[in-house]
Symmetry: D2
Subunit: 301 residues, 4 copies
């Protein structure tokens, strides 16, 4: 149960079988930080290449393919006072004819002060807009199978650039271990974001992060799962949105059968009348959909 | 401001230019009832053909194409003590290989008592499952354009079988008027339902319904919109899910520009960091996605 | 075996249960004509409302739901010397970012002389472009089920606006009969068209048409089928393209099992190594995909 | 202009920045061979891991990101007398409910004799089925950008597992160079295949292959392109099918503008009335669609 303080010096723009930056044990805690999606650090200096540069990978001793890696997200705190977003809806989230009428997008800076996020130089319409900060990691996960190294632009069964705003402090995320040592990568912090990441960014920011790892030996899952204060959930990553939803729903069906002993029909009856979905991102090469069941409902099983 | 008490005697399985059952005026209230998706009424008797038989249509005086019809949903109350659902996930909401492994679906009865919904004959795994009732209309809307009459299995800009669980009492829904008199139809009550209607049904039930109509002269909208206690929202209906989301997002962009005076960029900045989505249904021929913005955010504009 | 010469006087912009313009018998031939997609006739005069106005419907005596209506397309001949197209790719057939960079579309006239089609006023790059005419009906089919009347913009199991360039003279098309008398509608002639109708039009033109109907009593099909000189084929209509392909493929599987006595596995082995697809349209509200098997292959069964 | 005879000894199941097996020069020819999708070689012996093991990569001197690599496919000849397929349609190519009714798939052997392909042990329905061989490489391409190594199950802008049956001897394929030396990989031979690879395989076989490389310095393309005896074409790889088609169509638009000097409108007018599509595969994680224009049409420009 060691607490590792780790300062990254190298960043990867793929998630894959890179040389580990640190070996850690089941139960260990890591205190580290991440640069933003363009490689800008806490001081605004460019220290890594564009495109979701990753802190890590961390090699978790004992993690083998077929196991599950649990990441307890203990804290994610912006370590500078500003973030940035794109300013215009992505062309793929509006009707094709509406997309053609949109103006060009510009990088726009937001101030991040304590728990508030607001535009640095708002135009008249948004002068009073103040959003509540809700920091999370947009891109994190484990090395994919077969020795692949995959761009941090996208996501898959191994996690990656899911951009799910629900992955905040207090949540535990579960990844299928697909290579020896799991090789956990993290980065792409957002101070806040709407559902879908529909302008193509959250409020992109560098973060101080603290997390604890656990290895669930012999527990095999098909897609990332998670637990928040109120819900259990499963994440599916794919295009189109329909397929991402299919993966998430299929994984929830497995969860209810394996972890709660329900039959197909029982799981279906429960899910049909109690499931919730979130659209995590509808921008990246793979979209992400979250299938959730309230713990209040699960407590009746 | 008349209150009409209307007992239906004829039911349509399409939404279209049918002979109105009643002419009502702007501001009038209607107290009526709806049979369930299979045509079973409050006593369980079959009084209409299968497939979302509609009460109505109601002709609203003064409503012309280019106007908007507002429906204030004042109450939707189950008028019998039981509903029914399918028992197995629809094959299109899980991975294709998982779908092949599912058992056949059966019609399953649920007890609906006051504000609780539970299985009449639960198998062991669901013996304690009790869901909170949250009744809503699965299928309602106005006659489509061009003299079309469209099956109540599906939905479009005119509304229809959207199966959105958020359309509960207290919500106001807005439909684009597409033919003279709007011709409002309603039916397909659900006592409760999860997101997506992923077993293909909610807890299907007959309802007593009370609603008030208003005609917004000269107000033109592209897709159904609504207002709840906490959110403004827009509904897009199409396949695949991606396109339904595009319609809902495009309509919200229009709403923010027209009703709040925002520019494309201002609306995008707000939506990008504050929008929420709900998957209303991912089962019907057209899927339905809801794009929502919190009124707490809009109050800062 | 009567030959009916029919001059239309009324045109419908929906396919549905309209009053028949003529009753014909199994084996009868009809000689008639169709106006173009905007309602312009052989002399260029506007005689019908925009949006694929239909000649018909023709009531076919003896045709009942559960039967199949065969339409032998004997001739489709342009009856004027010009057609028109849109001039720019539809925004939904290119990448979203590419769509935003396209210029506005304009109606562009083409000359149709004997078997050649060429621009009336070509810009320098297309001065020598001469395409071979290959006239076909873009939109035709039978009244849909449940008393529906559906816009001629779209298509379904009943046929409709499929815009499939393979439906030329000499081909027989099969439609499922969904209402008494089948109620056959036709229109939306094209002098030529590429696959996919990717500018949103073919070379739109009015046609003289001759066809013969046959009723296949007790033969039930799920989607439009056809036979050309070289292939048997099935048409699926839906969005997205994936689903249109699923419908067409499923119908071909049925065809091979029912008409050739193959098992699921035999049909799969054959289709896997010998099937061909055409993208008929990727523009309309429902896309159309054609699944084809060469008759040369079928002759080995 | 050297001819290299290369016997592979190592095979990769990803396409990426692997150590080159041979360095070759612009204009060189390579004579080599490939094992089948399961790693079985000319003698039926297993010599490589399952999942499209690749021969190569070949480092092409002078090839830099921003260039194009042309591969002239001179010959692809089965080097054993049998291949294998799956026996049942993939569940994602038929309607979800139809998929559930399909029997389990089995590996099925086909005899490959000279130019004929037929089942080794046909059941009664397929006893006379003999298909004409048309061998091609299912999976080939160059190393992707950003140092990625991507499973040979899928495809992208770099090529990969496109399973396009049109890539036969005599065709030249063009790939965007994305890393120094291009790093060309090849494998996954098929003796014959229908469109779409809808049982999930072609007739999988080991091949003798001969190809010549050329480096087009400073020629930049966005997606794989090709030239056959009759057509120029562009390949788009993505899910869903709609998006694959968008990529292919966008690339053809670029080709016509850059290589033929057409305007957006001229290219659109030509494509709208003359384009053809092929569905290369609708099975792999990324689907592949081919957008083709006849050289007979291009010769008029």
């Amino acid at each position: 149960m060691t607490v590792h303080h780790f300062q990254p010096e190298i960043y990867y723009n793929t998630i894959g079988g890179h040389q580990p930056v640190l070996k850690i044990a089941d139960g260990d805690t890591v205190v580290t930080n991440t640069v933003d999606a363009r490689g800008w650090d806490h001081s605004g200096e460019s220290v890594a290449g564009r495109g979701n540069p990753m802190t890590g990978p961390f090699y978790v001793e004992g993690a083998q393919p077929g196991d599950t890696l649990a990441i307890q997200l203990e804290s994610m705190t912006p370590n500078r006072g500003w973030g940035w977003t794109s300013s215009v809806l992505a062309p793929n989230v509006v009707d094709p004819t509406a997309a053609a009428a949109l103006p060009p997008s510009e990088i726009t800076r937001w101030s991040v002060q304590e728990d508030l996020v607001f535009l640095e130089k708002p135009t008249s319409g948004l002068v009073n807009l103040k959003l509540k900060a809700s920091p999370f990691l947009g891109c994190f996960g484990v090395a994919p199978s077969r020795g692949q190294a995959i761009s941090t632009a996208t996501s898959g069964v191994y996690g990656g650039n899911m951009d799910y705003k629900g992955l905040v402090s207090g949540v535990t995320v579960y990844f299928p271990v697909l290579s020896e040592g799991a090789l956990f990568h993290l980065g792409d912090g957002h101070a806040v974001q709407g559902c879908g990441e529909i302008v193509g960014t959250g409020v992109e920011i560098s973060l101080d992060v603290r997390f604890t790892v656990r290895v669930l030996k012999g527990k095999t899952i098909g897609w990332p799962r998670g637990e928040s204060e109120t819900h259990l959930f499963c994440i599916g990553n794919a295009r189109p949105l329909d397929q991402a939803l299919q993966h998430a729903t299929t994984e929830m069906l497995s969860l209810l059968k394996e972890d709660y002993g329900l039959t197909d029909s029982e799981a279906s009856l429960l899910m049909g009348q109690a499931v919730e979905y979130e659209v995590a991102n509808v921008f990246n090469p793979a979209y992400s959909v979250v299938c959730k069941v309230p713990k209040a409902v699960l407590s009746m099983l």
